[in-house]
């Protein structure tokens, strides 16, 4: 039981960690770019992103399922009911969040900072870097919120992962199963681990926020 617990926890961290990494690699640069430059359709993209915040995870799961199923356009990848499928679903769910929060954070830095950089002789790239540095805590927050959302998510991963023991079972889906089986004690332990992870994320985040407020 203990070794299964370890496995489930490790898989949870691996799946959500990878999903967050991929979502950040996409969302942080794109979100920054949207904030830094006037882009055609920028407003529409923003509205779309904010709408995606409330996107039902189950629906994301269903979409990924259909894409990855044998008859789906990506069926040849053979990803359905693997951790890979869970990563895809989580990336789909949290990329808009990471991108949207990055966009807000970078936009909030304000034109004065940009102007100040310009008046001191910065070129375009240096200006962007300066604005991003000013937004660093906001960007870290965006990534952490994305991770938090990913590990807490259950609807999408249960559909595309299938909650298979020793294969695709993560903390949230294990809680669902153990509760249904009446193993409340085990379910509570799983829940506690989930909470500890969430708390650690919060602690890392507040460390950066505190340090920035010096």
């Amino acid at each position: 039981m203990a070794s299964e617990l370890l496995y489930v926890t490790a898989l949870t961290l691996a799946v959500s960690g990878t999903a967050t990494l991929i979502a950040s690699l996409i969302g942080v640069p794109l979100g920054s770019r949207l904030a830094l430059r006037e882009t055609v359709g920028g407003r529409a993209i923003k509205v779309f992103l904010y709408t995606m915040y409330g996107f039902p995870p189950v629906l994301a799961g269903l979409i990924v399922y259909l894409m990855l199923s044998n008859d789906g356009p990506l069926g040849f990848l053979d990803l359905l009911f693997t951790p890979g499928a869970m990563i895809v679903a989580q990336v789909l769910l949290i990329t808009p969040i990471v991108m949207g929060l990055t966009l807000s954070a970078v936009s909030e830095v304000g034109p004065e900072v940009k102007d100040t950089a310009k008046t001191l002789g910065a070129d375009e790239r240096q200006i962007s870097r300066t604005v991003l540095r000013g937004a660093r805590v906001g960007v870290i927050t965006a990534v952490m919120v994305g991770f938090g959302r990913a590990i807490a998510e259950v609807g999408a991963v249960i559909i595309v992962g299938g909650n298979i023991q020793w294969h695709t079972r993560v903390l949230t889906t294990a809680i669902v199963l153990e509760t249904r089986r009446g193993n409340f004690e085990y379910a509570v332990v799983l829940g506690a681990i989930l909470l500890v992870i969430a708390l650690s994320v919060y602690l890392v985040l507040s460390y950066y926020q505190e340090r920035d407020r010096r």
Binding site: E112, V113, D115, T116, L120, D123, Q126, R133, G134
Partner: protein, 241 residues
């Protein structure tokens, strides 16, 4: 050579004209004061002169070369100047890192001595390691001055650089401006509400009213024997807005 030459420069915001066909030559080796009532367009004039903003019509030339407003092309020209904004902001870094900024973007890596010297000139020698966002108003203005002068621009634009400061900070900064100008024969342009300040430190003064420069001349003459009735009313404080 003329440091910044504005010719026929006009600018409107949302259809409201702020500047109308302004001609102004900012010369080498002078301290030029731009005075005028609040909201008249003094900041706008500096933003145009610095290339931060593009005029609707007219041209702005820096050291004889007109600005193109093409991405990146004006940068070598702009690097001859520094502009301290009306409300200076600090980057979220230490005071030293803020002051080093203009050196770093010019690929000068050996910044320590230059930064120390610039901080000393405004009495902030001990403050280098402090977080810049935590500075008081007067310290902030002094840091902004050090940050703008550390790379020794030949043109320095200052927008209300002592607004809301106590007399001691005003004194420190005014002396620093005069010393900087003298040592480098620099072009310094100040925008100020404070007519006494314009008189104290500028060599030439121009009055902006209704989108146009009403009168420009040696500071002494503008204040003692203005030719235009509006100038006389403004410098004597009779003009109420």
């Amino acid at each position: 050579m003329t440091a910044i030459d504005l010719s026929g420069v006009s600018k409107a915001y949302d259809g409201n004209p702020v500047l109308i066909g302004v001609d102004l030559a900012m010369e080498e080796d002078e301290i030029l004061a731009i005075i005028g009532p609040s909201g008249v367009g003094k900041t706008t004039l500096l933003r145009l002169a610095s290339g931060l903003e593009r005029p609707d019509s007219g041209t702005v030339a820096i050291l004889g070369t007109p600005l193109t407003y093409v991405n990146g092309r004006d940068l070598p020209l702009k690097r001859h100047m520094a502009f301290i904004l009306q409300k200076p902001v600090a980057f979220k870094e230490t005071v030293s890192e803020n002051v080093a900024y203009g050196l770093k973007v010019r690929d000068i890596d050996d910044t320590e001595d230059l930064v120390a010297h610039a901080l000393e000139a405004v009495g902030l020698a001990e403050m280098g390691d402090r977080m810049a966002t935590r500075l008081s108003g007067g310290e902030m203005q002094r840091m902004a001055f050090a940050r703008a002068t550390v790379f020794e621009p030949s043109i320095l634009l200052l927008d209300e650089f002592t607004a809301n400061l106590d007399p001691q900070n005003v004194g420190v900064l005014e002396r620093a401006v005069i010393a900087y100008q003298r040592e480098r024969n620099a072009t310094v342009v100040i925008v100020t509400h404070n007519l006494f300040q314009a008189r104290r430190i500028s060599t030439r003064t121009t009055l902006l009213l209704g989108g146009r420069l009403v009168e420009t001349g040696p500071t002494e003459r503008i204040f003692e024997e203005p030719e235009d009735e509006r100038t006389r009313a403004f410098v004597s404080g009779e003009m109420v807005f």
